[in-house]
């Protein structure tokens, strides 16, 4: 039994209920309520018709007791215990019954020899003491049950005695046994932990059922639900703040309210619970991490109401824009004098104007856009209704210039009409629910009059928010929320183009919530960041023409210079960083090999082979992870001129032996076997450089890795190794010392 989805509806319907009650009880009752002296009104000896009527009403409210315990009080085998013939329901321990209704309970519980496992959510916040008493009286005197009525005065002290209680009672507690030690729960496996949370204190199972199947007509299923397996941000928002209103899930419509669990559960508990439900019951979606929950909790700290379902749902094929109209303007020959979004431009005469009947902006239908001999400016205007307060993202692509104005505020602007740039502009704006005006200027001096515009609610991947019509061919589907999240045991290794590097590279999103990018041309690890990895929308929706930005936090930009160099004399300067896409002299990336699911990079460096291994390592006490790196040079001779670059920054400070602070952002901690490094000044940069210390080895690299060198597998050779660890500056320094 649970009515907690019904919080909104209850207030509205309770008034007529009391009005109906007041009539048969007459004048006596009404002042009683005001004086809090109703305890004097006794229904003696049997249950009064009024109590039974109120109890029946409470019991049968949609989504209430009846949903689980059924209209015959029979419950559901193995899950929901029956009320009919249940000894505890008709027994004398009415305090226990009041406790269960006020705060809930979670099983397993045994009734008449059968075991039932589920969770019942407490109804104390939803029901008055009188209603609790009435519904107890009702269930104790229905379906063949007969027992003394429960009175309001029996309920009130129970509520008062446990005023601080939020969680359901365990059966053990109700039976007077010591409460289980929640601290003893094994939290190391988020799925096992998540399952126990789901069944117990997170209270999910009471409505969504232990097998995630929900309750037909009342509580949506979680098994196979796109709300569970789909967008992570939406799922977290629903969990933190709740959701209400009509939603269609797997073809069935639900109209209910789920309260937020943000006050009940911490970030790690929510992450574990959601990780569990995303892979239980045939679901097969990636995990949720605590920092994702924390970020949304912080961003929506002011939100205390459930999200309206329509703000989170998708509605395929409908434009959110209304009243979409355009006009093109006559610029004349001195068009370079104009800027978009200026009174002068707005005052220019109209060439063509029109409306888009289906409310999608369709560039192909703008009259005059193929008049090649004139520069082209179009001004689009429309309105739209924001369903919820949210951070909305806007993106535009095209060749030319563009300005987006929302409610007279510029969201992004490139207003130079003569500009021939290809551009992809983005901007974001926090919008309140309600109506907003948009004005979009687009200008182009030559004939490539193609532009794309899209707007997407920050949290939800929904291409229908784009403002250009999907049917045209000039649209780039954008979905800013397509954030790649690594599986618990499975990093994401993505080839492609990433911010900060040239066209050839690779990035790794690691389950320890650290990420890095490796530039193939430079054979160099160039960036580390934490938290979220990358948003693949730029390459996986529409067309693949982006350098993906890292979207997490704590960005560390490492050196762009080559990792190893031959220095004829130790005082020689380290070679400058090659330009983007340029390869350092003597370098050639051979490829990478996946070891334990992570790429190990192989590069030829003159006549040696560099093996560069990067391993995220867990933080201490579940703290943030750091990143270990091993550079290993293999050569057929001991080359005394080979050095490794271990750090670069505006300032490098040695904090203790082998521990260097770089630019106040991160530390580089050298492994015990790494040759002593020296800090050298080069221009306005400081470099941490360490010489090679060679040891004889038998060459153990595969033929594929050696094919661009003179070395042969299994022949004698030499190896120099440098070990280091990158730590964010907020990490405890002892982390590495313990390793």
């Amino acid at each position: 039994m649970s009515v907690h989805f019904q919080r909104g509806g209850f207030a509205a319907r309770s008034r007529p209920l009391f009005a109906r009650l007041a009539a048969p009880l007459g004048l006596l009752i009404v002042p009683c309520v005001g004086l809090l002296s109703c305890g004097r009104v006794e229904f003696d000896p049997g249950p009064s018709p009024q109590a039974l009527e109120m109890g029946r009403d409470v019991y049968n409210r949609p989504g209430s007791c009846v949903t689980c315990h059924q209209d015959d009080g029979g419950g559901t085998p193995a899950m929901i215990p029956p009320l009919a013939g249940n000894p505890r329901v008709i027994g004398d321990d009415t305090e226990r019954l009041a406790k269960v209704i006020l705060h809930g309970m979670h099983g397993p519980v045994e009734v008449n020899g059968e075991t039932y496992s589920s969770v019942m959510v407490g109804q104390g916040e939803m029901l008055s003491d009188l209603e609790v008493a009435s519904v107890l009286t009702y269930i104790r005197n229905s379906w063949g049950n007969e027992a003394l009525p429960v009175l309001e005065r029996h309920v009130t002290p129970v509520r008062a005695a446990h005023a601080e209680r939020k969680l359901p009672w365990t059966v053990a507690e109700l039976n007077g046994e010591p409460a289980p030690d929640l601290a003893a729960v094994d939290t190391s496996d988020p799925i096992a932990w998540g399952e126990s949370l789901y069944m117990t204190i997170a209270q999910c199972a009471s409505c969504h059922m232990p097998e995630g199947q929900g309750v037909s007509g009342s509580y949506p299923p979680l098994a196979k639900s796109p709300w569970v397996t789909g967008d992570i941000e939406r799922l977290i928002k629903v969990t933190l703040h709740g959701v209400g209103g009509e939603m269609t899930i797997l073809g069935n419509t639900y109209n209910n309210e789920m309260p937020g669990q943000g006050d009940l559960l911490d970030d790690e508990q929510i992450a574990a619970t959601l990780t569990y439900i995303r892979q239980a019951w045939g679901n097969n979606a990636g995990p949720v991490y605590p920092d994702q929950v924390a970020a949304l909790r912080e961003r929506f700290a002011d939100r205390h109401e459930p999200w309206p379902a329509e703000a989170l749902a998708t509605a395929e094929g409908n434009s959110i824009l209304e009243n979409v109209r355009y006009r093109t303007v006559e610029l004349g020959d001195d068009y370079e004098a104009y800027r978009l979004n200026t009174p002068e431009l707005d005052a220019l005469p109209t060439l063509h104007e029109g409306v888009f009947a289906d409310n999608f902006i369709e560039p192909n239908k703008i009259e005059g856009r193929f008049d090649y001999d004139a520069p082209f400016v179009v001004v689009l205007e429309a309105e739209f209704e924001a369903p919820a307060e949210d951070l909305y993202k806007f993106a535009q692509e095209g060749q030319g210039s563009a300005v987006l104005v929302i409610n007279d505020e510029v969201v992004f602007a490139k207003d130079d009409i003569s500009g021939k740039h290809w551009q992809g502009q983005t901007g974001e704006k926090l919008l309140s629910p309600g109506r907003h005006k948009i004005k979009f200027y687009y200008g182009n001096p030559d004939k490539h009059r193609r532009f794309r515009l899209s707007a997407i609610a920050d949290s939800v991947g929904r291409p229908q928010w784009q403002w250009t019509h999907q049917k045209t061919n000039v649209i780039s589907l954008s979905n800013p929320a397509f954030i790649l999240v690594p599986e618990r045991d499975r990093p994401i290794v993505l080839r492609g183009r990433f911010e900060g590097m040239g066209n050839l590279g690779l990035a790794v999103g690691h389950p320890l919530r650290v990420n890095y990018a490796y530039d193939f041309a430079r054979s160099q690890l160039i960036r580390l960041w934490r938290g979220d990895f990358v948003n693949a929308a730029g390459v996986w929706f529409g067309r693949n023409d982006k350098h993906l930005p890292n979207i997490g936090e704590g960005l560390i930009e490492l050196s762009l210079r080559q990792p190893l160099a031959h220095l004829a004399s130790p005082a020689d300067p380290w070679p400058d960083a090659p330009a983007k896409n340029a390869v350092p002299d003597g370098y050639d990336l051979i490829g990478h090999r996946k070891v334990d699911r992570l790429p190990v990079f192989y590069s030829r460096v003159s006549d040696a082979v560099l093996v560069d291994r990067i391993d995220p390592v867990p933080g201490v006490d579940r703290g943030p992870a750091s990143v270990a790196r091993t550079l290993e040079a293999t050569a057929s001779t001991e080359d005394p001129t080979l050095y490794a670059l271990l750090a670069e920054g505006a300032s490098i400070e040695e904090q203790s032996p082998g521990v260097y602070a770089i630019d106040g952002t991160h530390r580089v901690v050298l492994g015990p076997n790494t040759p002593a490094a020296t800090i050298r000044q080069q221009g306005d940069r400081q470099l941490l450089v360490s010489p090679a210390e060679w040891s004889p080895i038998t060459i153990d690299l595969g033929a594929w890795a050696l094919k661009k060198t003179d070395m042969q597998p299994d022949s004698p050779g030499f190896r120099a190794t440098w070990e280091l660890e990158y730590q964010w500056i907020d990490q405890p320094t002892q982390a590495s010392a313990e390793r």
Partner: protein, 511 residues
């Protein structure tokens, strides 16, 4: 080209009975979008792909007789087994992840080669656990920018052992990076050899039955309509946007120890608008397009190229070519012949109603065609974003033109089944017209130079399997539309041709 069809047809008919039962068993998986009239002969079956995977199948290759590799545009590679039973039994195993828009796959010497946006990578499962561990940069000599148009397709080794990669122009219109708009060969040692200039925007590359290599190029600059083009070493395919690399390419070849087979930068025509025939005269290295696909009439974006190597298990078209077509969600059929040393031929509609846009096409010796589909960024009639489907011959032989060969004074048509001599022998059962397209720096072209031909005679062979058409007014350089609405089958006087229209591209007229 195999001029004898009898052997193939005999096997074809024998196979009818064997496959008849399977039709019923697999009916549930057939495409909902395929026209009923086609399903009688060829059935498109939707293959259930791994749950939760956006299976935008762009590149495919056979690794053995019964194992296929498929790469998705998001960069995952799957090994596919149990290819020839019920589609529900087809098994997918993840082999590699995270490649950068791989559109070409080649399996060779235990390495799987993939042409990514920026490089040719090769993958190997060295430790034998079924998953690739080595990702070797096999060649990264071709240049790239972030622009998405730089699609790279890959063909298996030619007779000399070199793979071919066909590299799209940047923005499909310019060549800011080395070898954009060229076809290159990759030697077994991993060297890149500039090989054919003049590429615009390829959609697929593949061989015919004789080992000649072709690619599909999309309508645009210097490409008045979509074309199937013959890749001949040292030739020019027509688009001049990448000509700037001639000097560097020649120096590159010399540095690698090869003699120059490219010739000099041909420049481009002075006149703003010319025709392919003019360009042949201006630039002797220009190979005229083998097939001009009439724009809109035979689709709008030709893609993957295969030839029917099933020796009749796939029906009566053994040895002929099939090409994918994204926009119209279909696969078309091509008959090729060599005339005066130049390849040309006819294109016919084949199977339509794929769920998304066909890109990768694989033909198996077992007689099944696999079609990988995606329409992201391109658009297709099939309204699904991606798909992986199998085409199976039902065993029923469609009444269809089998070959269309040019003659000094017309064409010879052969058929899959005997024609009704009365209708097939009547010139009024046929209509032919021709046209061509501008060869110009601007984008595409309207149809130009419309010409009507006159069919003066139609002579049916004694066995009813061929018709000799005498045609007045065939124009060199034109594609010729032949409509055969009046032709009826000998067996069923009600039955016309399955697809009563074909388009023959006349580059040469035999003596």
């Amino acid at each position: 080209m195999d001029r004898s069809t009898d052997a193939g047809l005999g096997r074809t008919l024998a196979a009818c009975l064997l496959t008849a039962l399977a039709v019923v068993a697999m009916a549930a998986a057939v495409s909902a979008q395929q026209p009923e009239s086609e399903r009688k002969y060829y059935v498109i079956e939707d293959i259930p792909t791994p749950e939760g995977v956006v299976f935008e199948a762009g590149a495919m290759t056979m690794m053995s007789d019964d194992r296929m590799a498929v790469a998705t545009r998001r960069g995952d590679v799957y090994l596919v087994d149990h290819l020839f039973g019920p589609v529900a039994d087809i098994i997918f195993t993840e082999f590699a992840t995270g490649l950068d828009e791989p559109l070409g796959l080649v399996w060779k010497d235990d390495w799987l080669y993939a042409s990514e946006h920026t490089q040719l990578v090769r993958l190997k499962d060295e430790d034998g656990d079924g998953v690739a561990d080595i990702y070797e940069t096999f060649n990264d000599e071709w240049g790239s920018t972030p622009d998405y148009h730089e699609y790279n397709f890959l063909a298996p080794p030619d007779k000399d052992g070199n793979m071919w990669a066909v590299l799209c122009l940047t923005y499909s219109s310019s060549s800011p990076a080395y070898m954009r708009g060229w076809a290159v060969r990759i030697t077994p040692e991993g060297e890149m050899l500039p090989s054919v200039a003049g590429i615009r925007s390829p959609g697929g590359v593949g061989y015919d039955a004789n080992g000649e290599l072709f690619y599909n190029d999309n309508q645009g600059l210097w490409n008045g309509t979509n074309h199937l083009k013959h890749l001949k070493l040292g030739s020019h395919a027509g688009n001049h946007s990448g000509n700037k690399w001639y000097d560097k390419a020649k120096a590159d070849l010399v540095a690698k120890g090869y003699e120059d087979y490219l010739g000099d930068d041909p420049g481009f025509p002075e006149a703003e608008q010319t025709r392919n025939e003019d360009e042949r005269k201006r630039n002797p290295r220009f190979v005229p397009p083998t097939i001009a696909y009439p724009f809109n009439l035979m689709g709008r974006s030709p893609t993957g190229i295969v030839w029917d190597n099933s020796e009749g298990k796939f029906g009566p078209f053994a040895g002929q070519m099939f090409v994918g077509e994204i926009t119209h969600s279909q696969v078309n059929r091509i008959f090729l012949e060599e005339v005066n040393g130049v390849m040309q031929g006819a294109v016919f509609h084949f199977v339509s109603g794929f769920k998304s846009g066909p890109v990768g096409v694989v033909m198996t010796e077992e007689g099944y065609m696999f079609v990988g589909q995606t329409n992201r960024g391109w658009g297709s009639r099939g309204n699904q974003p991606y798909g992986f489907e199998r085409v199976r011959w039902t065993g029923e032989v469609p009444f269809e033109v089998h070959e269309m060969r040019i003659e000094p004074d017309g064409f010879t048509l052969t058929f899959t089944e005997p024609v009704d001599p009365a209708t097939a022998g009547d010139p009024a059962s046929y209509a032919m017209k021709s046209w061509t397209y501008w060869y110009q720096a601007g984008y595409g072209s309207p149809e130009i130079d419309h010409t009507d031909q006159t069919i003066t005679a139609a002579e049916v062979a004694d066995d009813g399997m061929s018709v000799r058409l005498t045609v007045e007014g065939v124009v060199q350089g034109h594609l010729h539309e032949l409509k055969m609405e009046g032709v009826r089958s000998a067996e069923d006087p009600e039955a016309g041709l399955w697809h009563p229209v074909g388009y023959y591209t006349v580059n040469e007229i035999p003596e």
